[in-house]
């Protein structure tokens, strides 16, 4: 059985300058365990290549549960410097939901 992130979790986008911040909120404990194991920084980096410029960060929040990914360079100069329509990366965040585990 193959899963996408969309089957297991919700994603909330935030931005800080040029960095897209993606919070992943698993829907239950089983999903949290699976995502913590499978949804590595490397998998996320590969899914967003070649947009990412730099190292993708991952922080696990076991209490919530939640995972936070930071994707540097994705926002093309940040919300104020980029001519891209979705400078915040809000629409772009749904791309993470299509990642197959």
């Amino acid at each position: 059985m193959s899963w996408t992130v969309d089957d297991l979790a919700d994603v909330r986008a935030g931005d800080k300058g040029d960095t897209l911040i993606l919070a992943v909120l698993p829907r239950d404990a089983a999903a949290a365990a699976l995502l913590e194991r499978e949804l590595t920084a490397a998998r996320v980096a590969a899914h967003f290549a070649p947009l990412v410029q730099g190292e993708v960060g991952r922080v696990v929040q076991p209490h919530l549960p939640g995972l936070v990914f930071t994707l540097p360079g994705v926002l093309g100069g940040g919300v104020t410097g980029s001519p891209v329509l979705d400078g915040h990366g809000k629409a772009l965040s749904y791309h993470l939901l299509t990642l197959e585990l």
Partner: protein, 450 residues
Amino acid sequence: MTAAGTVRLGAGAGFAGDRIDPATDLARRGELDYLVFECLGERTVAAGQARRLADPATGYDPLLAARMRAVLGHTAARGTRIVTNSGAANPSAAADVVARVAAELDLAGLRIAAVTGDDVLAAVRAADPTVWETGLPLSAHAEQLVSANAYLGADAVVPALQQDADVVVTGRLADPSLFLAPLVHEFGWSWEAAELLGAGTAVGHLLECAGQLTGGYFADPVTKPVPDLAWLGFPYAEVSADGSAVLGKLSGTGGTLHTRTCAEQLLYEVGDPGAYVTPDVVADFGAVRFTQLGTDRVGVQGASGATRPAELKVTLGFRGGWLGEGQISYAGPRALARAQLAADVVRTRLRDLHGVPEDAVLVELIGAGAAFRGLAGPGDPVEVRLRVAARVSDRELAAVVGWEVETLYTNGPAGGGGARRSETEVLAIRSCSLPRSAVHPEVHLQEVAR
């Protein structure tokens, strides 16, 4: 403070352009001690500064008067105090606007404070700090610097509350600090009590985007349906002296408030939940726990913190030229191919006829994966909207971009419809830091004449 020893904080706005009616509802029947309007993004203050350069009496949130007209009667009647960063680039002029609205509403005796001191343009020019994004000294940047605003903290607002201000208007102030200041003032928290400041900052962070907490940004019709989204209610918090809080929203309003909406908002825009840096504290959200206490009632506890940073973050606004933009739609058979042909036509003419550098031009095919920037294929869309944007040096050249899209109407390809064009001045935002000793917040109080 209420009889139960809690302080009730309401979120009246989550960004500069936010809705007004949910705040009116909170002001009217929220039984609030404080109503907080967060109305300042990174870019908003620079945009305000640009407006102020053109007209010295402006520079604050354009919706400020409308917001105040909607809530002041209710807040004044109940004694609810207002804290807002709507002052943007001109807190003093914004305070005058509040005073004028209060006078119109016959609210004699209302006390309005402007908090200034976030404007550090002269200080950064003198200090010439390193710009974070470029690694170069400020003086090495060719673009014109139009604004420099330090993120003030809760300690800039508390003196205004101590002087019995009913409305406090600030410029650049960290979002959670707007909420933390009333808590420090009411509970007498020490500036050394990092754990309490971290807990109060968590409450502020949860409330600062208003409807994002109550199911707004959360909503997805399939995976996360939210009731009555059109009438989304804004949240409030009942905060206890130990920093724990109960989050709620008014009965009869749309939206939903549960542990999942709270978890999403806790992590919103937070790169490292263990070290969320504000001017007041380095907050730690790592051990935060949410408890469902009832319908639309969630308990929050467990946030902590460590000593505040030694320096203050400063947002720098540079003039960054002009963005010209044009859009046009194609639909039906070969929509994508026609949009691509149209893009080639515009690119060629911008480059060869108008001298717009090729790397300044951005083409997006909306409806064919533009938001995913090439990461997902275009498929076979039933319609495509071509968007051409270019960042150029001046307004005249920016206007050419939209013009070249508009002329596709008659010059082809076939079937282009609904062309729109615009030119916008670009303000590039960067950051640096300044020692606290270079930043001097001040409170200016006025009272509406009796």
